[in-house]
Symmetry: C2
Subunit: 307 residues, 2 copies
DNA sequence: TATCCTTACGGAATTCGTAAGCATG
DNA sequence: CATGCTTACGAATTCCGTAAGGATA
C-alpha cells in the first residue's frame, strides 16, 4: 500500500470510475492507474471496485470502507504538507476560499483588502460556486474556507459557523408605483413581475417560502445568478427586484430605489465553513477573525473536536 | 513522503531516538533509516529531530506535530489492513489482549473458552502486563483490547468501559486468630504482617487508601504480582493476605479461609479498554460481548465518536 | 574505545509510460 | 468504431543494504 494507490482509488471514485480521467487528473498514465488498483486489491485480498468485464462500475461493500479509510489517510497526508509549510514558510502560501457571488462581491472585498495588507505574500484564490458546489469543494479538500448562505449544513464532514445576518430588499425604478404606498406587502409586490436569484442561491428559498406561506403565487419573470444582473433588468423596467440589501449601493445605483422588506422575508444567515479534520494555516484563522472577530481560532478548534 | 518514512520517525521516537534500535525494530538497515529521515525532513522543509552533532536527542516543535500526524496516518493504515482482513478472512485472524495476571487467571478463562468454541480459527494472544504498560501497549497499536483494574483512565487515546465490580478479601490460614473475632476490622488486620499485591496492581491503591484513611500504618511484609504467590506465603504462616476475592477457590485452597472484607476496602472496578480510532475486527466485538454483554458493538462505536 | 550516525555506492526492486491487444456499449 | 481497461516490456527512478568514515560520550 502506498500513497499513490490511495490517491488513485480516491480519484477513480471522484471521476465516476473512469480510469482514463483519473489518470489525467493525477498526471500519470492510465496503465499505471490500472495496475496500481489491481496491486492494491491483491494486497488487501479483496475487490475494491465492481466490474462488468473490463469496465469499473462502482464500489463493492468492502471497497466503500477502503475508500473511506483512504480518504482519511490522504486528508492527513495533506495536513502534513500544510503543517510543514506552516513552519517552513510561516506567512506565505495560498488561501483558498469557495464562495458565492454575493459574498465575493459585497461582503469580502473589504476583508480581503485588510488581509492582503497583513499577509502580502499569501496568494488568494476565490472559487466562485453555488452553495452545493461549495460543500463538495470543501469535502474534496482543495479549499480552506467556504462562505455561503444556504445548504452548507447537514454534512458531518463540514463545520459551519454563522457569521452574518442580513435581509432581502426590494429594488424598483425611481418612478415605480410601489414607491407611493406606505407599507410594502407581499401582495403589492406580487402585482408585478419579479426578478430575483436562481434557486438555491442567496436566500432564494426564503423568498419562495414567504410567498407560499402567504398563499400567493408570484410571477418570477426572471432569475439570475447575481444582483448586478437583476438590477440591470429592473432598471430596464422588466419587473421588481428582490436582492440582498447589501447588494444595493445608493451612490452607484442611480436609477433605482431600495425598499426595506425585512418584515416580509425571513432573515438570512451567512455561514463560514471548514472541512472537519483539515489543518488550517494560521493565516486562515487570521482571515476568519477579520471576517468575523467572534469566530476565534480557539472556537474553530473546539468545534473540530466535538460533534 | 511514504509510509516507511512515517514508520521510521514513529519508531525512532518510540526507541528514544536511537536509529540503530529503530532500524532493528523495523527489520531494515540503519543507513536506510538515517537517509529516510533526512529525505523526509528535506521534503517537508523542516527539521523533525533535535540533533547534537550526529546524535538525535528529541523532537523539534514542528517535529512533534509531524509525528502526531504520522501516528494518525499509520493508525489508519493499520486499520486498512484490519478492515480488509475483516472481509477477506472473516473469522480468522488474531485477537490480541493485554491484561493483568488477575484478569487472565480468574476472569478470562471461561470467556476465552467460549470464544474459542465460537471462533476456533482466531489465534489468541495474551500480553500479560501491568495496567500502566497496558495503556502503553494499547496506544502503541499492537493490541485490540486492554483489561485491567487501575490506571487505564485519563488518556484521550483510550476508551474505557467498566465491566465488573469486585472487592478484596482477606485470606488467613485455617487456625488463624482473626477467625475467632466476629467482625473484621482494619485494626485487627494491621496487627499482623500483611501480604498483598505490588503497587499499582489489582486495586492495591484502594488497600493503601483504606489504611491511610483510618490512620493506620500497616506492616506490608511482602508484596507480589499475583494472588497465587500471596496465598502460598499466607499458607506458610508469614502473614495475612489481602487479595481479590475472586482469586480464592475453596476447593483448591484447602489450608486457607477467605474472610469478607468488602466493608473495609473501597469497591474495585475492572475495565476494558480499546484504542480510540483503531478498527476492531467483528470477533473483537463478539469477545467483548461474551465478557460483558451490556457492552455492545453499538455502544463501543458510539463511544469512539464522542469525547 | 564502544556506540552511533552519515555518506557513498552498487544492486535489487519498484514505479512509470509507451504501445499493443482486447472488451464494451 | 470510439472509448476504456489490461497486459507486456523496457526505461527511469527509488529503495535498500554493505561498508567505510567520522562524531560523540
Amino acid at each position: 500500500m502506498n500513497f499513490q494507490q490511495l490517491r488513485i482509488i480516491r480519484e477513480t471514485v471522484r471521476r465516476n470510475f473512469n480510469l482514463t480521467e483519473a489518470a489525467q487528473a493525477l498526471l500519470t498514465s492510465q496503465s499505471g492507474v490500472s495496475k496500481h488498483i489491481r496491486d492494491l486489491e491483491e494486497e488487501l485480498g479483496l475487490e475494491i471496485f465492481v466490474r462488468r468485464g473490463k469496465r469499473l462500475l462502482g464500489l463493492t461493500e468492502p471497497g466503500q470502507e477502503v475508500v473511506a479509510v483512504a480518504e482519511r489517510i490522504l486528508l492527513e497526508s495533506e495536513n502534513m504538507m500544510l503543517l510543514s509549510q506552516q513552519f517552513s514558510k510561516r506567512d506565505t502560501g495560498t488561501l483558498s476560499i469557495a464562495t458565492t457571488h454575493t459574498q465575493a462581491r459585497y461582503m469580502l472585498p473589504e476583508v480581503i483588502a485588510k488581509f492582503k495588507a497583513d499577509f502580502p505574500d499569501v496568494r488568494l484564490v476565490l472559487h466562485q460556486a453555488s452553495p452545493k458546489e461549495i460543500a463538495a469543494i470543501l469535502l474534496e479538500g482543495s479549499t480552506d474556507l467556504g462562505i455561503a448562505t444556504d445548504a452548507l449544513e447537514d454534512n458531518a464532514g463540514i463545520i459551519t459557523f454563522p457569521y452574518h445576518r442580513w435581509s432581502h430588499g426590494v429594488v424598483v425604478p425611481k418612478d415605480h408605483p410601489l414607491l407611493t404606498s406606505n407599507t410594502l406587502t407581499l401582495e403589492a409586490i406580487a402585482d408585478y413581475p419579479i426578478i430575483t436569484y436562481d434557486e438555491g442561491l442567496t436566500g432564494r428559498t426564503r423568498i419562495d417560502k414567504a410567498f407560499e406561506r402567504a398563499g400567493i403565487e408570484p410571477d418570477i419573470a426572471m432569475s439570475a445568478l447575481d444582483a448586478d444582473v437583476i438590477k440591470a433588468y429592473v432598471e430596464l423596467g422588466l419587473g421588481v427586484g428582490i436582492i440582498a440589501s447589501m447588494a444595493f449601493n445608493a451612490n452607484r445605483d442611480h436609477g433605482l430605489v431600495l425598499l426595506n422588506s425585512s418584515h416580509l422575508f425571513e432573515e438570512n444567515v451567512s455561514s463560514l465553513a471548514v472541512r472537519r479534520g483539515r489543518f488550517l494555516r494560521s493565516y486562515v484563522y487570521r482571515f476568519i477573525e477579520l471576517l468575523a472577530p467572534e469566530i476565534t481560532e480557539q472556537r474553530v478548534r473546539r468545534a473540530e473536536l466535538g460533534r
